[in-house]
Symmetry: none
Subunit: 257 residues, 2 copies
Amino acid sequence: MIEPPVVILDRSQLAENIGAAARVMANFGLERLRLVAPLKGWPQERAWATASGADWILEGVEVFDTVAEAVADLNVVFATTARPRETRQPVRTPREAAKVLFEEASRGLKTGLLFGGERTGLETPDVALCQGIVTIPIDRRHHSLNLAQAVSINAYEWRTTLQDAPPPAFRDADPPARGELIIGMFEHLEKELDEAGFFFPPEKRPSMVRNLRVMLGRSQMSEQEVATFRGVIHALSKGRGQRLQKLLEKRGEPSEG
Amino acid sequence: MIEPPVVILDRSQLAENIGAAARVMANFGLERLRLVAPLKGWPQERAWATASGADWILEGVEVFDTVAEAVADLNVVFATTARPRETRQPVRTPREAAKVLFEEASRGLKTGLLFGGERTGLETPDVALCQGIVTIPIDRRHHSLNLAQAVSINAYEWRTTLQDAPPPAFRDADPPARGELIIGMFEHLEKELDEAGFFFPPEKRPSMVRNLRVMLGRSQMSEQEVATFRGVIHALSKGRGQRLQKLLEKRGEPSEG
């Protein structure tokens, strides 16, 4: 079992953000939350409101006085900060950082992610306690990122690093129908279109047929969908005729067209 | 200049979330926000508080009554939903989706990301109007993701794709038609099928319509192909009628069916 990074919030200000951070931690499978000198104390009721059910994380919160104490038992901690630092520490994107944390955690090391307060950010001496810096690629024109969003991006990258298997191309995938069924459907459509005088001028029929087949072929219909579409072709070709018939029967006279 | 995806929030409930969504959009360089039937109307003051300075996005908000109208001018829209759907639409991770949206946007197409309301989520018929589904990899034990967080993850992936994307592969295919053309084609087909008595039993009509739209939507028809397919619908629905008419005219008597 690979242990996810501990999330450490330094001097966070708003209970709402602590709760929202817990919520996204739960969303992405992170478990342990540590608070360093929360400005309004701990626990705070309003955190439970925004945690929206991630209570076990809030109830497991550990509180520390200093960053040094909060990282004491951890092997590899990255500080999340947008501000350039004098410290000659490696700066990584959340994706690069997640890969490193994953490798370290796979070796059985204890990892962590440190986040600064909403107003205050991180003190450089606390950043210096970390083994690296994570900087989220933010648009320069609007670089104030919400604390829970910063936790979210990093938690998401941890999660995706953990399980890089993309989802299946289709949910509940009915497999695409066999070629013969698709071709039978094409021929059905083309026969009806011939009778309807659709392919005109005649010399254009081959290219028109080809374009129709390509267009419909792209949707990779399942066997069921082929049956449905043949029902559509049938209904459309019969429909008008039946309506005209009813009309004529009502009028009881031949159509003059 | 590559145009970022339009963000569309369907029936969002909380002004705070709309503001928070605008804030992360600004963080990651997205510009255009559309609201479909915001449950508490628009504008709402509290959105400006959580937008934390991303005012130009809130001031540029466009409001629509339906998802169909909100996607009418867009070529490629992905619906963000965690709920498994019966629809056979491609399901992508935010990372895969961002790559596709980037490629389409690089071709000058208009792209969008559709998000459901906090409580309500997305209606399957609206999902069926989209060209694909985006599912964020969430821990099963806690899958309720905050709306602004969902926007954030996708906006972040757009941003990172933008940064480390190689110049997209050249594609000379005709671009997918705008949503309004696709929807117009759907409605044309459904009208003819109604007249042909195809949708039976009536209570099944909504799901039958949805499956047809998904099936045909997957082929991402170009404007030319939409015109061709409308010609097909027209030819099929008229064809039989004309043939019957000719027959009747020749026989000079009303049909007994």
